[in-house]
Symmetry: C2
Subunit: 203 residues, 2 copies
Protein backbone atom coordinates (compact mmCIF):
# COMPACT_ATOMS: atom_id res chain seq x y z
CA UNK A 1 0.00 0.00 0.00
CA UNK A 2 1.58 3.26 -1.13
CA UNK A 3 1.61 6.36 1.07
CA UNK A 4 1.43 8.55 -2.03
CA UNK A 5 -1.68 9.81 -3.73
CA UNK A 6 -0.03 9.67 -7.14
CA UNK A 7 2.60 7.67 -8.93
CA UNK A 8 4.24 9.25 -11.97
CA UNK A 9 5.92 7.08 -14.60
CA UNK A 10 8.48 9.22 -16.37
CA UNK A 11 11.96 10.37 -17.30
CA UNK A 12 13.21 13.46 -15.44
CA UNK A 13 14.91 14.88 -18.55
CA UNK A 14 11.78 14.57 -20.74
CA UNK A 15 10.03 17.94 -21.00
CA UNK A 16 6.63 16.24 -21.04
CA UNK A 17 7.44 14.46 -17.77
CA UNK A 18 9.02 17.57 -16.25
CA UNK A 19 5.71 19.45 -16.75
CA UNK A 20 4.03 17.03 -14.35
CA UNK A 21 6.93 17.07 -11.86
CA UNK A 22 7.15 20.88 -11.78
CA UNK A 23 3.39 21.26 -11.29
CA UNK A 24 3.29 18.63 -8.50
CA UNK A 25 6.13 20.48 -6.75
CA UNK A 26 4.43 23.83 -7.13
CA UNK A 27 1.17 22.34 -5.83
CA UNK A 28 3.19 20.78 -2.98
CA UNK A 29 1.57 17.39 -3.65
CA UNK A 30 3.48 14.28 -2.62
CA UNK A 31 4.10 11.71 -5.34
CA UNK A 32 6.20 8.69 -6.14
CA UNK A 33 8.36 8.91 -9.27
CA UNK A 34 8.90 5.69 -11.21
CA UNK A 35 11.73 6.05 -13.75
CA UNK A 36 10.99 4.74 -17.24
CA UNK A 37 13.82 4.43 -19.77
CA UNK A 38 12.29 4.86 -23.20
CA UNK A 39 15.58 4.02 -24.95
CA UNK A 40 15.35 0.59 -23.27
CA UNK A 41 11.78 0.26 -24.62
CA UNK A 42 10.42 0.31 -21.06
CA UNK A 43 7.34 2.21 -22.24
CA UNK A 44 6.53 -0.57 -24.72
CA UNK A 45 6.31 -3.56 -22.34
CA UNK A 46 2.99 -5.38 -21.90
CA UNK A 47 2.78 -4.10 -18.31
CA UNK A 48 3.37 -0.50 -19.41
CA UNK A 49 0.84 -0.71 -22.26
CA UNK A 50 -1.79 -1.55 -19.63
CA UNK A 51 -1.09 1.93 -18.20
CA UNK A 52 -0.94 3.74 -21.53
CA UNK A 53 -1.93 1.80 -24.66
CA UNK A 54 -0.09 4.45 -26.67
CA UNK A 55 3.23 3.49 -25.00
CA UNK A 56 4.34 6.99 -24.02
CA UNK A 57 5.41 8.79 -20.85
CA UNK A 58 4.38 10.45 -18.58
CA UNK A 59 1.56 8.43 -17.03
CA UNK A 60 -0.19 9.38 -13.78
CA UNK A 61 -1.38 6.49 -11.62
CA UNK A 62 -4.06 7.01 -9.01
CA UNK A 63 -4.37 5.11 -5.72
CA UNK A 64 -7.40 3.45 -7.37
CA UNK A 65 -5.00 2.04 -10.00
CA UNK A 66 -6.63 4.08 -12.71
CA UNK A 67 -4.30 5.85 -15.13
CA UNK A 68 -4.15 9.10 -17.03
CA UNK A 69 -1.75 9.77 -19.91
CA UNK A 70 -0.80 12.79 -22.06
CA UNK A 71 1.21 15.37 -20.09
CA UNK A 72 -1.16 18.26 -20.76
CA UNK A 73 -4.24 16.27 -19.74
CA UNK A 74 -2.44 15.27 -16.52
CA UNK A 75 -1.66 18.96 -15.84
CA UNK A 76 -5.32 19.82 -16.46
CA UNK A 77 -6.37 17.17 -13.95
CA UNK A 78 -3.91 18.31 -11.28
CA UNK A 79 -4.62 22.01 -11.72
CA UNK A 80 -8.42 22.10 -11.93
CA UNK A 81 -9.69 24.10 -8.97
CA UNK A 82 -6.25 25.59 -8.20
CA UNK A 83 -4.58 28.91 -9.08
CA UNK A 84 -2.75 27.16 -11.94
CA UNK A 85 -5.95 26.97 -14.05
CA UNK A 86 -8.08 30.10 -14.56
CA UNK A 87 -11.62 30.16 -13.20
CA UNK A 88 -13.37 31.47 -16.32
CA UNK A 89 -14.44 29.24 -19.18
CA UNK A 90 -12.82 31.42 -21.85
CA UNK A 91 -9.49 31.57 -20.01
CA UNK A 92 -9.52 27.80 -19.33
CA UNK A 93 -10.10 27.32 -23.05
CA UNK A 94 -7.24 29.71 -23.85
CA UNK A 95 -4.97 27.64 -21.59
CA UNK A 96 -5.95 24.57 -23.61
CA UNK A 97 -5.47 26.49 -26.87
CA UNK A 98 -1.82 27.11 -25.96
CA UNK A 99 -1.35 23.52 -24.74
CA UNK A 100 -2.68 22.17 -28.06
CA UNK A 101 -0.41 24.65 -29.86
CA UNK A 102 2.45 23.21 -27.80
CA UNK A 103 1.73 19.61 -28.76
CA UNK A 104 1.01 20.24 -32.44
CA UNK A 105 3.13 23.21 -33.52
CA UNK A 106 6.01 23.27 -31.01
CA UNK A 107 6.84 19.84 -29.52
CA UNK A 108 7.25 17.96 -32.86
CA UNK A 109 9.98 20.41 -33.88
CA UNK A 110 11.62 21.75 -30.73
CA UNK A 111 11.37 18.74 -28.40
CA UNK A 112 11.89 16.32 -31.21
CA UNK A 113 15.13 18.01 -32.35
CA UNK A 114 16.45 17.85 -28.78
CA UNK A 115 15.51 14.17 -28.62
CA UNK A 116 17.45 13.38 -31.80
CA UNK A 117 20.51 15.28 -30.57
CA UNK A 118 20.50 14.65 -26.82
CA UNK A 119 18.95 11.18 -26.52
CA UNK A 120 19.91 9.58 -29.82
CA UNK A 121 23.21 11.50 -30.24
CA UNK A 122 22.13 11.95 -33.85
CA UNK A 123 23.19 15.52 -34.76
CA UNK A 124 25.01 14.12 -37.82
CA UNK A 125 22.82 11.11 -38.60
CA UNK A 126 19.60 13.17 -38.52
CA UNK A 127 21.03 16.33 -40.13
CA UNK A 128 18.33 16.50 -42.86
CA UNK A 129 15.46 15.85 -40.44
CA UNK A 130 16.85 18.47 -38.06
CA UNK A 131 17.05 21.00 -40.90
CA UNK A 132 13.40 20.30 -41.78
CA UNK A 133 12.39 20.89 -38.17
CA UNK A 134 14.22 24.20 -37.93
CA UNK A 135 11.78 26.48 -39.79
CA UNK A 136 8.56 25.30 -38.08
CA UNK A 137 10.40 25.28 -34.72
CA UNK A 138 11.44 28.93 -35.12
CA UNK A 139 7.90 29.75 -36.31
CA UNK A 140 6.55 28.42 -32.99
CA UNK A 141 9.14 30.46 -31.07
CA UNK A 142 8.12 33.55 -33.08
CA UNK A 143 4.45 33.05 -32.12
CA UNK A 144 5.49 32.77 -28.45
CA UNK A 145 7.79 35.82 -28.63
CA UNK A 146 5.06 37.94 -30.20
CA UNK A 147 2.55 36.95 -27.52
CA UNK A 148 5.01 37.42 -24.65
CA UNK A 149 6.14 40.82 -25.91
CA UNK A 150 2.61 42.04 -25.07
CA UNK A 151 1.70 39.77 -22.14
CA UNK A 152 3.38 38.72 -18.89
CA UNK A 153 2.20 35.13 -19.22
CA UNK A 154 0.20 33.15 -21.80
CA UNK A 155 -3.29 33.55 -20.33
CA UNK A 156 -4.83 36.32 -18.22
CA UNK A 157 -1.39 37.74 -17.29
CA UNK A 158 -1.13 35.04 -14.63
CA UNK A 159 1.14 32.01 -14.32
CA UNK A 160 -0.86 28.91 -15.37
CA UNK A 161 -0.28 25.41 -16.73
CA UNK A 162 -0.10 27.01 -20.21
CA UNK A 163 3.21 28.54 -19.12
CA UNK A 164 4.46 25.28 -17.61
CA UNK A 165 3.48 23.42 -20.78
CA UNK A 166 5.39 25.79 -23.05
CA UNK A 167 8.33 26.35 -20.70
CA UNK A 168 9.17 22.64 -20.43
CA UNK A 169 10.75 22.25 -23.87
CA UNK A 170 11.36 25.93 -24.71
CA UNK A 171 13.84 26.49 -21.89
CA UNK A 172 15.97 23.60 -23.20
CA UNK A 173 15.43 24.40 -26.90
CA UNK A 174 19.14 25.17 -27.31
CA UNK A 175 19.85 21.48 -26.60
CA UNK A 176 17.91 20.89 -29.83
CA UNK A 177 19.98 23.40 -31.78
CA UNK A 178 17.61 26.39 -31.51
CA UNK A 179 19.31 29.73 -30.87
CA UNK A 180 17.27 31.73 -28.35
CA UNK A 181 19.50 34.82 -28.31
CA UNK A 182 17.05 37.06 -30.19
CA UNK A 183 14.02 35.95 -28.12
CA UNK A 184 14.16 38.55 -25.36
CA UNK A 185 10.49 38.30 -24.32
CA UNK A 186 10.79 34.51 -24.04
CA UNK A 187 13.93 34.88 -21.94
CA UNK A 188 12.35 37.35 -19.55
CA UNK A 189 9.35 34.99 -19.26
CA UNK A 190 11.81 32.19 -18.32
CA UNK A 191 13.02 34.37 -15.44
CA UNK A 192 9.46 35.02 -14.27
CA UNK A 193 8.73 31.29 -14.22
CA UNK A 194 11.98 30.46 -12.48
CA UNK A 195 11.12 32.87 -9.67
CA UNK A 196 7.69 31.30 -8.98
CA UNK A 197 7.21 29.68 -5.54
CA UNK A 198 8.40 26.06 -5.33
CA UNK A 199 9.98 26.14 -8.79
CA UNK A 200 12.38 23.26 -9.41
CA UNK A 201 14.78 22.84 -12.31
CA UNK A 202 14.53 19.94 -14.78
CA UNK A 203 16.39 16.79 -13.80
CA UNK B 1 -23.77 43.90 -36.25
CA UNK B 2 -23.97 40.14 -36.63
CA UNK B 3 -27.00 38.17 -35.50
CA UNK B 4 -24.77 35.22 -34.70
CA UNK B 5 -23.10 34.50 -31.40
CA UNK B 6 -20.12 32.92 -33.12
CA UNK B 7 -18.23 33.21 -36.37
CA UNK B 8 -16.17 30.22 -37.46
CA UNK B 9 -13.28 30.66 -39.89
CA UNK B 10 -12.72 27.33 -41.59
CA UNK B 11 -12.78 24.88 -44.48
CA UNK B 12 -15.69 22.43 -44.48
CA UNK B 13 -13.51 19.54 -45.68
CA UNK B 14 -10.88 20.03 -42.96
CA UNK B 15 -11.43 17.54 -40.14
CA UNK B 16 -10.30 20.10 -37.56
CA UNK B 17 -12.92 22.57 -38.82
CA UNK B 18 -15.58 19.86 -39.14
CA UNK B 19 -15.19 19.09 -35.41
CA UNK B 20 -16.39 22.60 -34.59
CA UNK B 21 -19.18 22.52 -37.19
CA UNK B 22 -20.50 19.13 -36.03
CA UNK B 23 -20.49 20.17 -32.37
CA UNK B 24 -22.23 23.50 -33.10
CA UNK B 25 -24.92 21.59 -35.02
CA UNK B 26 -25.35 19.06 -32.26
CA UNK B 27 -25.57 21.86 -29.69
CA UNK B 28 -28.06 23.60 -32.02
CA UNK B 29 -26.10 26.86 -31.74
CA UNK B 30 -26.39 29.35 -34.59
CA UNK B 31 -23.12 30.45 -36.19
CA UNK B 32 -21.75 32.16 -39.25
CA UNK B 33 -19.24 30.17 -41.33
CA UNK B 34 -16.48 32.13 -43.05
CA UNK B 35 -14.67 30.00 -45.65
CA UNK B 36 -10.88 30.15 -45.57
CA UNK B 37 -8.88 28.61 -48.43
CA UNK B 38 -5.56 27.51 -46.98
CA UNK B 39 -4.20 26.57 -50.42
CA UNK B 40 -4.64 30.25 -51.36
CA UNK B 41 -2.70 31.21 -48.19
CA UNK B 42 -5.82 32.87 -46.76
CA UNK B 43 -4.83 31.76 -43.25
CA UNK B 44 -1.48 33.60 -43.58
CA UNK B 45 -2.72 37.13 -44.34
CA UNK B 46 -2.01 39.93 -41.87
CA UNK B 47 -5.74 40.14 -41.07
CA UNK B 48 -5.97 36.42 -40.40
CA UNK B 49 -2.84 36.39 -38.22
CA UNK B 50 -4.60 38.89 -35.96
CA UNK B 51 -7.16 36.13 -35.32
CA UNK B 52 -4.64 33.32 -34.95
CA UNK B 53 -0.95 34.23 -34.83
CA UNK B 54 -0.22 30.59 -35.70
CA UNK B 55 -2.01 30.96 -39.07
CA UNK B 56 -4.21 27.89 -38.83
CA UNK B 57 -7.91 27.10 -39.06
CA UNK B 58 -10.39 26.78 -37.42
CA UNK B 59 -10.75 30.00 -35.43
CA UNK B 60 -13.79 30.86 -33.34
CA UNK B 61 -14.71 34.55 -33.17
CA UNK B 62 -16.88 35.88 -30.36
CA UNK B 63 -19.29 38.80 -30.61
CA UNK B 64 -16.75 40.64 -28.42
CA UNK B 65 -14.23 40.20 -31.28
CA UNK B 66 -12.09 37.96 -29.15
CA UNK B 67 -10.76 34.81 -30.79
CA UNK B 68 -10.04 31.22 -29.84
CA UNK B 69 -7.95 28.85 -31.98
CA UNK B 70 -7.05 25.14 -31.88
CA UNK B 71 -10.03 22.93 -32.77
CA UNK B 72 -9.95 20.91 -29.56
CA UNK B 73 -9.76 23.99 -27.34
CA UNK B 74 -12.74 25.44 -29.25
CA UNK B 75 -14.67 22.21 -28.65
CA UNK B 76 -13.79 22.38 -24.95
CA UNK B 77 -15.12 25.93 -24.81
CA UNK B 78 -18.37 25.10 -26.60
CA UNK B 79 -19.03 21.91 -24.64
CA UNK B 80 -18.26 22.97 -21.06
CA UNK B 81 -21.44 22.66 -19.03
CA UNK B 82 -23.19 20.53 -21.69
CA UNK B 83 -23.69 16.77 -22.13
CA UNK B 84 -20.75 16.70 -24.56
CA UNK B 85 -18.22 17.16 -21.73
CA UNK B 86 -18.40 14.89 -18.63
CA UNK B 87 -19.12 16.43 -15.26
CA UNK B 88 -16.35 14.74 -13.28
CA UNK B 89 -12.79 16.03 -13.20
CA UNK B 90 -11.25 12.66 -14.04
CA UNK B 91 -13.54 12.12 -17.02
CA UNK B 92 -12.99 15.66 -18.31
CA UNK B 93 -9.26 14.96 -18.08
CA UNK B 94 -9.73 11.68 -19.95
CA UNK B 95 -11.55 13.57 -22.71
CA UNK B 96 -8.53 15.87 -22.97
CA UNK B 97 -6.18 12.86 -22.86
CA UNK B 98 -7.82 11.49 -26.02
CA UNK B 99 -7.88 14.92 -27.68
CA UNK B 100 -4.14 15.35 -27.05
CA UNK B 101 -3.61 11.81 -28.36
CA UNK B 102 -5.54 12.90 -31.45
CA UNK B 103 -3.38 15.95 -32.10
CA UNK B 104 -0.03 14.32 -31.35
CA UNK B 105 -0.30 10.65 -32.33
CA UNK B 106 -3.14 10.57 -34.89
CA UNK B 107 -3.56 13.84 -36.82
CA UNK B 108 0.09 14.19 -38.01
CA UNK B 109 -0.18 10.80 -39.73
CA UNK B 110 -3.81 10.23 -40.65
CA UNK B 111 -5.00 13.77 -41.40
CA UNK B 112 -1.68 14.73 -42.88
CA UNK B 113 -1.69 11.80 -45.35
CA UNK B 114 -5.18 12.79 -46.48
CA UNK B 115 -4.00 16.38 -46.90
CA UNK B 116 -1.10 15.32 -49.13
CA UNK B 117 -3.34 13.11 -51.27
CA UNK B 118 -6.64 15.00 -51.33
CA UNK B 119 -5.57 18.65 -51.11
CA UNK B 120 -2.12 18.57 -52.71
CA UNK B 121 -2.88 15.67 -55.12
CA UNK B 122 0.52 14.34 -54.07
CA UNK B 123 0.08 10.53 -53.84
CA UNK B 124 3.08 10.10 -56.15
CA UNK B 125 5.12 13.16 -55.22
CA UNK B 126 4.91 12.41 -51.48
CA UNK B 127 5.17 8.62 -51.75
CA UNK B 128 8.09 8.36 -49.27
CA UNK B 129 6.52 10.71 -46.73
CA UNK B 130 3.23 8.80 -47.01
CA UNK B 131 5.05 5.52 -46.41
CA UNK B 132 6.69 6.98 -43.28
CA UNK B 133 3.29 8.07 -41.98
CA UNK B 134 1.71 4.67 -42.50
CA UNK B 135 3.11 2.78 -39.49
CA UNK B 136 2.41 5.46 -36.83
CA UNK B 137 -1.02 6.07 -38.43
CA UNK B 138 -1.98 2.40 -38.11
CA UNK B 139 -0.55 2.38 -34.56
CA UNK B 140 -3.00 5.16 -33.66
CA UNK B 141 -5.87 3.23 -35.27
CA UNK B 142 -4.82 0.14 -33.29
CA UNK B 143 -4.97 2.08 -30.01
CA UNK B 144 -8.47 3.29 -30.93
CA UNK B 145 -9.64 -0.18 -32.01
CA UNK B 146 -8.41 -1.73 -28.77
CA UNK B 147 -10.20 0.88 -26.67
CA UNK B 148 -13.43 0.71 -28.69
CA UNK B 149 -13.51 -3.08 -28.59
CA UNK B 150 -14.11 -2.73 -24.83
CA UNK B 151 -15.98 0.58 -24.67
CA UNK B 152 -18.95 2.12 -26.48
CA UNK B 153 -17.30 5.54 -26.67
CA UNK B 154 -13.95 7.02 -25.60
CA UNK B 155 -14.88 8.29 -22.13
CA UNK B 156 -17.48 7.07 -19.64
CA UNK B 157 -19.35 5.08 -22.29
CA UNK B 158 -21.02 8.30 -23.39
CA UNK B 159 -20.72 10.35 -26.57
CA UNK B 160 -18.43 13.36 -25.85
CA UNK B 161 -16.14 15.77 -27.68
CA UNK B 162 -13.43 13.07 -27.43
CA UNK B 163 -15.48 11.06 -29.94
CA UNK B 164 -16.04 14.06 -32.20
CA UNK B 165 -12.32 14.88 -32.07
CA UNK B 166 -11.27 11.38 -33.11
CA UNK B 167 -14.11 10.79 -35.56
CA UNK B 168 -13.32 13.88 -37.65
CA UNK B 169 -10.24 12.49 -39.40
CA UNK B 170 -10.72 8.77 -38.70
CA UNK B 171 -13.94 8.49 -40.71
CA UNK B 172 -12.14 9.87 -43.77
CA UNK B 173 -8.85 8.02 -43.13
CA UNK B 174 -9.33 6.03 -46.33
CA UNK B 175 -8.91 9.28 -48.29
CA UNK B 176 -5.38 9.28 -46.82
CA UNK B 177 -4.72 5.72 -47.93
CA UNK B 178 -5.53 3.95 -44.65
CA UNK B 179 -7.47 0.69 -45.01
CA UNK B 180 -10.12 0.49 -42.30
CA UNK B 181 -11.51 -2.92 -43.29
CA UNK B 182 -10.08 -4.77 -40.29
CA UNK B 183 -11.17 -2.12 -37.77
CA UNK B 184 -14.60 -3.46 -36.86
CA UNK B 185 -14.89 -1.70 -33.48
CA UNK B 186 -14.00 1.63 -35.09
CA UNK B 187 -16.59 1.06 -37.82
CA UNK B 188 -19.35 0.23 -35.37
CA UNK B 189 -18.37 3.38 -33.38
CA UNK B 190 -18.76 5.39 -36.64
CA UNK B 191 -22.34 4.10 -36.89
CA UNK B 192 -23.07 5.08 -33.28
CA UNK B 193 -21.81 8.61 -33.91
CA UNK B 194 -23.70 8.93 -37.19
CA UNK B 195 -26.94 8.07 -35.40
CA UNK B 196 -26.55 10.80 -32.74
CA UNK B 197 -29.14 13.60 -32.71
CA UNK B 198 -28.38 16.47 -35.11
CA UNK B 199 -25.43 14.67 -36.70
CA UNK B 200 -24.33 16.21 -39.98
CA UNK B 201 -21.86 14.79 -42.50
CA UNK B 202 -18.61 16.53 -43.39
CA UNK B 203 -18.82 19.05 -46.21
Amino acid sequence: MSNFTYKVYGDVFSGNCYKVKLLLHQLQKPYEWIPVDILQQESRTAAFLQRNPNGKIPVLEFASQEYLFESNAIMYFLSEGTDFLPNTRLQRSQVLQWLFFEQYSHEPYIASSRYLIRYLKGAEKYKTVLEEKSKPGYAALDVMEQHLSRNQFFVGNKYTIADIGLYAYTHVAEEGGFDLSRYSAIKSWFAKIESQPHYIAMG
